[in-house]
Symmetry: C2
């Protein structure tokens, strides 16, 4: 299952070795794995990393692939997902610049990773990164902290998937995107929503039709405005917040 039909565009990725300067210039260093490092440590990190650029819709790796690489998103949006044999899909997360992906318990990836928009990533060979982690406990702690906050997000998502209705899910989703944009210093309103209705549906456990109808409902009730270019203006944060919290 895991490999079938997914690796098709893998080779199209542009991969170039880079020196330390891009690391220093990296716009997301402060929110990445490397945020914990000093200049000399950064140099050693730059030694092992490779920068990767991918088009929209590129499969970076598939569930079941050998997990020999860890990535850090530096630009664009990625999605992680799991599939059932009959094609049902659950997107387990959207990744923005600063987020990492590629952790695994055994030595295969537990999910597939695909770009939503054109994206750039830093690519760390797992082996060599592990050596680095041994030497730089700060970085180890940083990675641990990032995993912990992912775990907290996963628990929020379980609450959403298990107990919230469609309107509450959409409201939660929009507020989550807005909050994440804010914390990265991007425009938080209108929110940039680069993913398709179908991706949103598979993230929220709904169908595209229900996502579309719910957006329309929220628009009709003036809580949001749908702008062109995949932007959504949040007009009434209070109402959205109440919806999201399920009051």
């Amino acid at each position: 299952m895991a490999l079938a039909g997914h690796a098709c565009t893998r080779e199209s990725a542009v991969a170039t070795r880079i020196d330390i300067s891009p690391c220093n210039a990296c716009p997301v260093r402060s929110m990445s794995v490397c945020s914990a490092l000093e200049a000399d440590e950064l140099k050693r990190l730059a030694d092992i990393l490779v920068s990767v650029k991918v088009d929209a819709g590129h499969t970076l790796f598939a569930e079941g692939d050998g997990a020999d690489t860890l990535f850090n998103v530096t630009a664009g949006t990625m999605k992680l997902y799991k599939l059932l044999p009959d094609g049902r899909r659950q997107i387990t997360g959207f990744l923005l610049p600063g987020d990492f992906l590629g952790l695994s318990i055994n030595d295969t990836y537990a999910y597939s990773a695909e770009s939503v928009t054109p994206a750039s990533l830093c690519r760390f060979p797992r082996r060599r990164l592990e050596g680095l982690l041994e030497d730089y406990p700060k970085m180890q702690r940083r990675l641990f902290a990032m995993a912990s906050s992912e775990l907290a997000a996963a628990q929020d998502q379980m609450l959403l998937l298990g107990r919230k209705n469609a309107k509450e899910r959409i409201a939660s989703f929009l507020l989550m995107l807005s909050e994440r944009a804010r914390r990265r210093g991007y425009a938080e309103n209108p929110v940039h929503v680069p993913m398709s209705r179908s991706d949103i549906a598979d993230y929220l456990g709904l169908t595209t039709e229900t996502v579309s109808r719910t957006f329309t409902q929220l628009k009709t009730s003036r809580a949001i405005s749908l702008l062109e270019g995949g932007k959504v203006r949040l007009n009434d944060m209070e109402i959205l917040q109440e919806l999201a919290e399920g009051v």
Copy 2:
């Protein structure tokens, strides 16, 4: 919200300071945070830990409480859950001996923790544990590994909550319990299912009625047998596995 009506039985917990010998005798040491430690390191750990015993239905802490403690389950079953203001509940996990709880990103717990059965736990003051983690990177790595595998489990659960139907959820749940029992060296068939229908429902995003009906269906189709004492015999692993994987 977070504190209301939850702390009622907190003080009934029996808490006694113990020396290192219980640590050496600890039946779950090999699968706990402390599995990475040598004898002398273990001694220092024993110095800061406190053993806690609780009755069934005891609230260990509530969402929003100050997160100054980390726990390791040594006996019994715990549940973690999140609530919506109107009372809807999502159980985000059941913990068995060896599992830990109490991680937090900011300094408050992101979920409530309650015992399902009478339970015992090791209690680590966060501050002092952090010091230990600095000195023993092995333990840090161990904790990281445990968090990673929790993250993987959370992603499986998102797939379940977002995309599986009732029968598939119940089958997945039973197999998960069986597998976890196996990995701990307990009886894996029949499986011990100590939690109520209502707990199962809130874990699987269903209602008690649907859980009950689905158990009955599986029983009628001979895939399982419901035994007394909260035991379930898995008669046809093949069918259950196919159901769980959504073939």
